[in-house]
């Protein structure tokens, strides 16, 4: 039985996460319609950029952070089989994150923070926005602390035993987030807030971009790890089989934690403030971090194959047909893997030093990250919700069929939305425009693609609303959930213990510290040695 505190914490964290998600989906639909240029009365850059900023913040920071916190409390208590450490602290974290969200939402919706979710200075937003964003991050650190302490306590009481995989991954994610968020926290606390409050007149946009790049890539893995937990820990069992290898799964999470951190400069390939050697170094790291993802793809597919063959599948591909496609968790996993493969290829183009110039800051980029984040990651968030929402509310999932329809429509919608984006990017359409207003032969070819994007947006909005309805109806369901326990997939062979260094928090942190010093030490220090010129704040 999951203890009441973590159930309530998961419930309310997820209520906030999914409410933010629904609002953001409506905004997203408005955006595809606005930017198509087909409806003159809708065209308004102030409304569009306020909407894009809010959509980005809600999806990237609010949905993810609250979802991950809620999921982490469930994972920790159920996999370690111990009550939550300091629920009061967890609730404080929840409220601080919530207050941060509200403080940031006020200027966002009022159009006083239309700086997009990347808030690149020297365009300046209302100070409230930066303070809200800082609180959102600080609140999430409470969650990190609880995860780390619970893991350490368990380890002390179970010397020599391997940590349950779900918790191993969760604590890796907590550490990852502490390291990841440090970059943006430094930017917000030392640069943006003093500047927005008028204590400092100027700041260095080059330094700000460097600090943001610190956060900007590993944050993606912070969002992705819960999805991977579902792939490793829920999918094999739901499919009727076993996890192919727990040891490799742990190495994959360890690899993500250590190698996803020092790679952020692939976002700065086209920037003048960092030297070519540093960009190359981060580029190499970017390719190294694909290894854990490739391992994940293999292990999860192998686990699915085991399940398919146990279900009677024969021949090279026969096992695919015998998988339980009507199980939402399994279906979501298959769709997620499809989108991950496509999105992954797009990412390899982004990360390639020479190819990047062709697609840098074009529509290709939102196409890519919608496929990876809104596709792969969020569809697995749905799967986790379908799996766990009944267990935290105690009510039976209202309809399995509706859940399947919701997952399929999300997949179809995301394909319709992101394919034209990729094409438009190759044709050179810039990202972050509210409409195509150029008068050039080369830009005329863009028009038909906008129609597909509207269709994709409409399907996605419908799917998102259906998701909300399913959760709401389940919550209000009169039927009681019969399986209140969270069951984790068993590995096909009993896991042998990992070498001590692979289980030790200290080793991981030292390794990261070394890599971060190597990768960001001089690139950040250079701003204090160069003769730099800072920028005054600009409006928009």
């Amino acid at each position: 039985m999951i203890d009441t505190q973590s159930r309530n914490l998961a419930l309310w964290n997820w209520v906030v996460a999914f409410a933010a998600f629904l609002v953001a989906c409506f905004l997203g639909f408005y955006q595809v319609v606005e930017r198509s240029g087909l409806f003159d009365f809708l065209e308004s850059p102030p409304a569009y950029f306020a909407s894009v900023s809010t959509h980005g913040v809600l999806m990237a920071y609010v949905l993810t952070t609250f979802f991950i916190m809620g999921f982490g409390y469930l994972t920790a208590t159920s996999s370690l089989k111990r009550p939550l450490w300091q629920p009061g602290l967890a609730w404080s974290g929840f409220f601080i994150t919530l207050i941060g969200t509200v403080l940031a939402a006020i200027p966002l919706l009022a159009g006083k923070a239309s700086v997009l979710y990347t808030f690149y200075p020297p365009i300046q937003a209302s100070a409230l926005f930066y303070i809200g964003a800082a609180l959102l991050v600080v609140g999430s650190w409470f969650w990190c602390a609880i995860m780390v302490v619970m893991a350490a306590q368990w380890r002390r009481e179970n010397p020599g035993k391997g940590m349950p995989l779900a918790m191993y991954a969760t604590v890796a994610n907590a550490l990852l987030w502490l390291w990841t968020s440090a970059g943006v926290a430094m930017e917000v606390v030392f640069q943006l807030i003093p500047w927005a409050l008028g204590w400092n007149d100027t700041l260095d946009p080059g330094l700000a971009r460097t600090l943001f790049a610190w956060t900007l890539h590993p944050i993606v893995y912070f969002w992705l790890i819960p999805a991977y937990i579902a792939l490793y820990c829920f999918v094999p069992k739901e499919a009727g089989g076993y996890l192919f290898s727990e040891e490799m799964a742990k190495f994959a999470f360890l690899g993500l934690l250590v190698f996803s951190l020092p790679i952020g400069f692939h976002h700065l390939y086209m920037d003048p403030e960092q030297g070519a050697g540093w960009k190359l170094w981060h580029g190499i790291g970017t390719f190294l971090v694909t290894v854990p993802t490739l391992v994940t793809g293999f292990t999860v597919l192998a686990s699915l194959e085991i399940a398919g063959r146990l279900g009677g599948g024969r021949g090279l591909f026969g096992w695919i047909g015998t998988l339980p496609w009507r199980n939402p968790v399994v279906l979501a996993a298959i769709l997620a893997l499809l989108m991950l493969i496509l999105g992954g290829f797009g990412g390899i183009v982004n990360a390639s030093y020479a190819l990047n110039a062709m697609i840098h800051n074009t529509a290709w980029v939102p196409g890519h990250f919608h496929l990876i984040f809104a596709g792969t990651t969020v569809i697995l968030y749905f799967a986790i919700a379908y799996h766990l929402w009944p267990k935290i509310t105690g009510k039976k999932l209202v309809s399995n069929t509706l859940a399947l329809i919701q997952l399929w429509t999300w997949f179809v919608g995301m394909t319709l939305l992101s394919t034209p984006w990729h094409v438009l990017g190759l044709l050179g359409q810039p990202r972050r425009i509210s409409g195509v207003t150029y008068n050039s032969l080369l830009t005329l070819a863009w028009q038909p693609y906008e129609l597909f994007m509207i269709m994709g947006g409409a399907v996605l909005l419908g799917s998102a609303v259906l998701f909300g309805v399913i959760l709401w109806k389940t919550w209000r369901n009169t039927e009681i959930e019969t399986v209140p326990e969270i069951a984790y997939a068993e590995p096909i062979h009993p896991p042998e213990s990992l070498p001590a260094w692979a289980e030790s928090l200290k080793t991981w942190n030292l390794a990261i510290l070394g890599l971060m010093l190597l990768s960001f030490g001089w690139p950040i220090a250079q701003f204090f040695f160069l003769k730099t010129f800072e920028s005054l704040p600009w409006g928009y």
Partner: protein, 171 residues
């Protein structure tokens, strides 16, 4: 610790793939493709008072050694000068600076792409194989007029361009 032989094989395949990708990066370096990375600072507030980015110095220049440089300024909401003409099949070095906020610039279907960060000069050298009219587009959100920030570049055959410039054409 147990690692399945299949997994080991896959690990080697994965590492091989990574090696392939990294190899392609090194090949591109060897042929001289490199993104703007000149780490050169400039005072964006005084840009118009500087020598290089003075209003009258913007545009296309032929250096004494024959190289072609284009001095450009990005500012809300346009690129200055508004229209330049450059020769095809010739390495052209763009030097970019911003007069206000963060901008990005690229020309579709070409390798001309760079961020223009206030406080820094971005330098990018590339060649345009195909003559034609190209738009130069702002690709980083720079304010409410971001969508409208663009200008024009005409790439003409090298001989035509030389002829125009020997008659004292535009700069």
């Amino acid at each position: 610790m147990h690692i399945d032989p299949l997994e080991k094989k896959w690990l080697y395949i994965a590492l091989g793939m990574v090696a392939l990708f990294l190899g392609s990066i090194f090949i591109s370096l060897a042929v001289g493709i490199k993104p703007p990375s000149n780490v050169e600072t400039i005072d964006s507030a005084r840009l118009h008072l500087s020598k290089e980015f003075a209003e009258d110095n913007l545009g296309v220049h032929i250096q004494p050694d024959g190289r072609i440089t284009v001095i450009m300024v990005a500012g809300r909401y346009g690129f200055f000068p508004r229209h330049i003409t450059i020769p095809a099949d010739t390495p052209i070095t763009f030097r970019w600076a911003s007069v206000d906020v963060l901008h990005g610039v690229h020309m579709p279907m070409t390798n001309m792409s760079t961020m223009v960060v206030p406080g820094y000069v971005a330098e990018v050298t590339t060649t345009f194989p195909k003559p034609g009219d190209y738009p130069m587009l702002c690709n980083e959100y720079c304010g409410l007029g971001h969508d409208y920030m663009w200008s024009k570049v005409t790439v003409v055959a090298r001989q035509t361009w030389e002829k125009q410039h020997s008659k004292g054409g535009e700069s």
